[in-house]
């Protein structure tokens, strides 16, 4: 049976007909064509599929599309505003926090959610916020540095 749902993703509305058993991750990637969100493990362990649902980081491989009808969803593609990169994206580039890039979309979103509620996090708080985003390449050092750097820049702007 098809369900008629409306997903609000990155500020845009998408009217879709989806079956009940379809995952949010697959709708984002296949129906809507936003392939920045990645599939890493399918069991909510690696965080590569992290999206923000109403500002909270969530593993989209463990969410059915129908569950989030009408909810506000942010994917990595939504970080750029008016052609400008988000300070976190800039910081990741400048601090060398990216290697293979597969975990990057998920980490960026977890970091954004952190800085939205905790603009001046300690290193431990940063680590806890991204503990669910596994990275095999960077050893996390420069990711944490980048989040720190972005936090400071964002605070100065305010």
């Amino acid at each position: 049976m098809d369900h008629s749902i409306t997903l609000k993703i990155n500020g845009e509305f998408y009217k879709l007909n989806v079956k009940s058993n379809v995952l949010l991750l697959d709708v984002i990637r296949d129906e809507i064509g936003l392939t920045g969100t990645k599939r890493g493990c399918d069991t909510g362990e690696c965080g590569a599929c992290t999206v923000l649902i109403e500002g909270e980081p969530v593993n989209s491989c463990l969410v059915l599309a129908i569950e989030v009808d009408g909810k506000d969803i942010l994917t990595v593609e939504g970080l750029v505003k008016n052609g400008q990169l988000h300070p976190l994206q800039i910081a990741f580039v400048e601090e060398g926090a990216i290697q293979c890039g597969f975990c990057t979309p998920g980490v960026l979103l977890s970091a954004k959610a952190l800085l939205n509620t905790n603009p001046n996090p300690t290193e431990e708080e940063i680590k806890t916020a991204i503990a669910g985003n596994l990275c095999r390449c960077t050893g996390y050092t420069k990711i944490i540095k980048a989040i720190n750097s972005a936090a400071k820049k964002m605070q100065r702007k305010e």
């Binding site: 362990e45 990169l85 060398g96 293979c100 890039g101 979309p105 680590k127 996390y140 050092t141």
Partner: protein, 774 residues
């Protein structure tokens, strides 16, 4: 002293923007019209004859387009075994299965879901055979044979096989006279170390798309560290010309580490693509299949008998090595080679004997894994080095400094001149960083310890390769190479080299994804070889363009080529800088209407005269020596046995640091992967050869909360033939970690662990039985 514009700068990665905006392309982002979806039926048993496979019900399922079995595929392609250096692997199991998870049939359907359902309908009849699940059992006299006909397999002449048993290959190295050496020694140490099997766990699960074309050619899209290698394996197995096989890599790979190599785990896609000609068919492995059916790190048992003088000089070493290569050879024999040569460590040892065996077992295939056997050898020799140092009362850094090779020393196993040995500097930097702080106890039950280890790795010649560079009229450039960007940063390095040599803007240079129809030959993005070998080829290609430009400029500026210089896109007469012509002017005026400037570079280095003759196995010579040292400070909770890694000081010899930030990134990632392998990661097999922990819930890689402070120290000991003196560091960064941790544990609590992984259970048991080592 050279002053460079781009070289040595932490230029921003050229792939960074795509990756932070989510627009970077990986295999699962490639959609081809008409694509079908494949799923693989896998063996439930470690060793069994396949009596019958009934696919009729699966074929009838609505949406299923085809099903193929090993028997059917093999009937059309005789002796279609693939593998290098030994072709012992079928695309799909034919007569029997040799490990749990081995592919036996493939379904292609209009959706993944239908393909999955079809697997349930495939019925397989097995006749179970006794299985061997460890090397000791595999080597027993009456052990069941895993491969009955190894003499029928094609194999490279430089590996030595042993037939009619479960030994895949064998190496023996002799240098000097070990018995004489032991007589000269004041102390003899004999220790056995074991290293376990772990997985690369790239965050991206691999996949592939394959299509047979009406003209008899095959196109494969796959994230592969060796597109040319994968092409060669397929062509060789199917007896078709290599140019009939096209391997295209997506722009990026989500982590390789040696695992995504020559279509490892993906070869069944060829069989199903053949069956459903001419549709493209895609497979994406699940995380479970990544663990069970790709390749893993070789588990090893290494016994070192080492003779030393009382002043700490090593005189003799007898090494016995066994590695577990799983059900098929894959890269086992060459990993055996590396581990055998590597048993001496970076040390001067006049008398050496190494006896090494690569052994089959009925388990998942072991293959290339960052370090390629060197990490296992280092675990053994660096642990023993500290055992020796403690017993002799010599400082662990001093004993190493005493024994390490120096420039020009003819190494004991490779019998070649060591060159650009930055190891001494690395050791001293680490000592300075780690040992200068006192270790204070935090609490009664918390003890700190410091440990140090070092290692070396080689990269073999020829590793011949080419590169093309195309200079465009807007002074942007494109680099055509068959390496792949899997996070190590090579694309950025190539852009830096081209920018440096042609003095064009760095941020207008692109590196194309590898495509064996377009980009020229490169053996593989492995062995830490890309910067050195392919960097040289790219540099040559850029210089080729520069030469062409100077050839035109000389007439314009009325000077000889040698009298010209290039800076910021401007060619000028060195001694009279007012005489100038811009590169852009040359392009516009000499070629109105447009043109590209094409540069080509080839790097092929092969010293035939250095081939060792005394060694029973012929090996290609070594050109590049890579060195690193790590010092680790840990905090042990003696009540729980839990170890917290506080700090890692990692000094790595880059030769020349082309991009400091990417080098640091490699060190930091390598250290974490080393920690993961040493302490957290272990593939656990049940008594039926099945891996129990096949999800990321049960197989844990380090998270951000496990991260210690990592201090990356970049040491430069320039290599005379490296581009700007650069070497490679991709693997050496993960090699010394395990031994450094074990040495720190000994420093903290006096317990010597010789068997990886280091777990709190093991340490606590040892602490409770204090005095005994494990």
């Amino acid at each position: 002293m050279n002053t460079y514009v781009n070289i040595g700068k932490s230029e921003k990665r050229i792939d960074a923007l795509e990756k932070v905006t989510g627009s970077a392309q990986y295999i699962d982002d490639i959609r081809i019209p008409g694509m079908l979806y494949a799923k693989i039926k896998r063996s439930a048993f470690p060793h069994a004859n396949i009596l019958n496979i009934d696919t009729s019900d699966a074929e009838k399922l609505l949406g299923v387009k085809a099903v193929v079995t090993g028997k059917e595929f093999a009937a059309n392609f005789k002796n279609s075994f693939f593998g290098s250096p030994m072709a012992d692997q079928p695309f799909l199991a034919v007569e029997k299965v040799r490990y749990v998870g081995e592919p036996i049939a493939v379904v292609a359907a209009t959706s993944e879901e239908i393909a999955e359902d079809a697997l349930d309908l495939i019925k397989v009849e097995y006749q179970l055979l006794p299985a061997v699940l460890n090397v000791q059992d595999a080597l027993k006299n009456n052990a069941p044979l895993i491969h009955e006909n190894t003499n029928n397999y094609r194999y490279s002449s430089n590996i030595k096989l042993v037939f009619n048993n479960n030994i895949c290959s064998h190496i023996e190295i002799i240098n000097g006279d070990i018995e004489q050496g032991f007589k000269e020694a004041d102390f003899i140490f004999e220790d056995t170390f074991t290293d376990h099997s772990s997985h690369h766990v790239p965050i991206e699960c691999r996949g592939a798309i394959a299509q047979f074309n009406p003209n008899g050619s095959i196109t494969v899209w796959a994230p592969d560290q060796s597109p040319y290698g994968g092409r060669s394996l397929i062509a060789d197995a199917l007896r078709i010309p290599e140019s009939k096989v096209r391997v295209i890599t997506p722009t990026y790979i989500g982590g390789g580490f040696g695992g995504k190599l020559r279509l490892s785990g993906l070869m069944p896609i060829i069989a199903i693509a053949w069956k459903i000609k001419y549709h493209p068919v895609k497979i994406l492995l699940t995380r479970e299949e990544e663990f069970t059916s790709t390749t893993v790190r070789h588990a090893a048992i290494i016994t070192l008998k080492t003779g030393v003088k009382k002043d700490g000089t090593i005189v003799s070493r007898h090494a016995k090595v066994m590695i577990d290569t799983g059900a098929y050879a894959d890269r086992g024999p060459t990993v055996l080679g590396k581990i055998s040569y590597g048993c001496t460590g970076p040390y001067k040892i006049p008398h050496v004997k190494v006896e090494a065996y690569c052994v089959y077992t009925n388990k998942v295939i072991a293959g290339a894994w960052r370090g390629y056997g060197i990490a296992q050898a280092c675990w053994a020799y660096e642990s023993q080095m500290d055992i020796i140092a403690m017993k002799l009362g010599i400082d662990p850094v001093d004993i190493r400094l005493k024994n390490i090779v120096d420039e020009g020393y003819i190494t004991p196993t490779e019998k070649q001149e060591a060159h650009a040995v930055g190891l001494g500097k690395c050791l001293l930097q680490v000592k300075e960083d780690i040992f200068r702080k006192r270790k204070d106890r935090i609490l009664e039950n918390r003890v700190k310890g410091n440990g140090i280890a070092c290692g070396y790795k080689i990269s073999r010649t020829p590793s011949g390769c080419n590169a093309f560079v195309k200079l465009n009229s807007d002074l942007g450039a494109d680099v055509f190479v068959s390496s792949i960007e899997m996070g190590q940063g090579v694309n950025t390095i190539f852009a830096q080299i081209v920018a440096e040599e042609l003095t064009i803007p760095f941020d207008n240079i692109r590196v194309l994804p590898a495509d064996t129809d377009i980009t020229p030959f490169f053996p593989a993005s492995t062995a830490s070889r890309t910067t050195f070998f392919l960097g040289n080829a790219v540099k040559k290609a850029a210089l080729d363009i520069k030469k062409q430009l100077f050839n035109i400029a000389k007439d314009i500026l009325k000077a000889d080529e040698q009298e010209l210089s290039l800076k910021q896109g401007l060619i000028f007469v060195t001694k009279d800088p007012r005489k100038t012509v811009k590169i852009s002017e040359i392009m516009e005026k000499t070629y109105p209407g447009g043109i590209s400037f094409l540069g080509r570079g080839t790097f092929y280095h092969y010293k035939k005269e250095n081939l060792p003759s005394h060694i029973k196995v012929k090996i290609p010579p070594t050109l590049v020596w890579m060195y690193a040292s790590q010092g680790i400070t840990i905090d042990v909770d003696t009540e729980t046995g839990r170890i917290k890694i506080l700090k890692v000081s990692a000094a790595t010899d880059t030769g020349k640091t082309i991009n400091p930030i990417t080098c640091e990134g490699q060190i930091e990632g390598g250290v974490m992967q080393g920690i993961g392998h040493a302490m957290f990661e272990e593939l656990i097999f049940d008594e039926k050869g099945k891996i129990i922990n096949t999800s990321m819930l049960d197989y844990k890689i380090p998270s951000a909360l496990d991260m210690p402070e990592i201090n990356s120290i970049l040491v430069e000991e320039p290599h005379r033939e490296g581009p700007y003196g650069a070497k490679g560091i991709g693997e050496i960064v993960t090699v010394p970690t395990a031994a450094a941790i074990a040495n720190a544990i000994y420093d903290a609590v006096g317990i010597r662990i010789k068997d990886l992984p280091i777990t709190p259970d093991k340490l606590l048991r040892a602490l409770n039985n204090k005095g005994k080592s494990i």
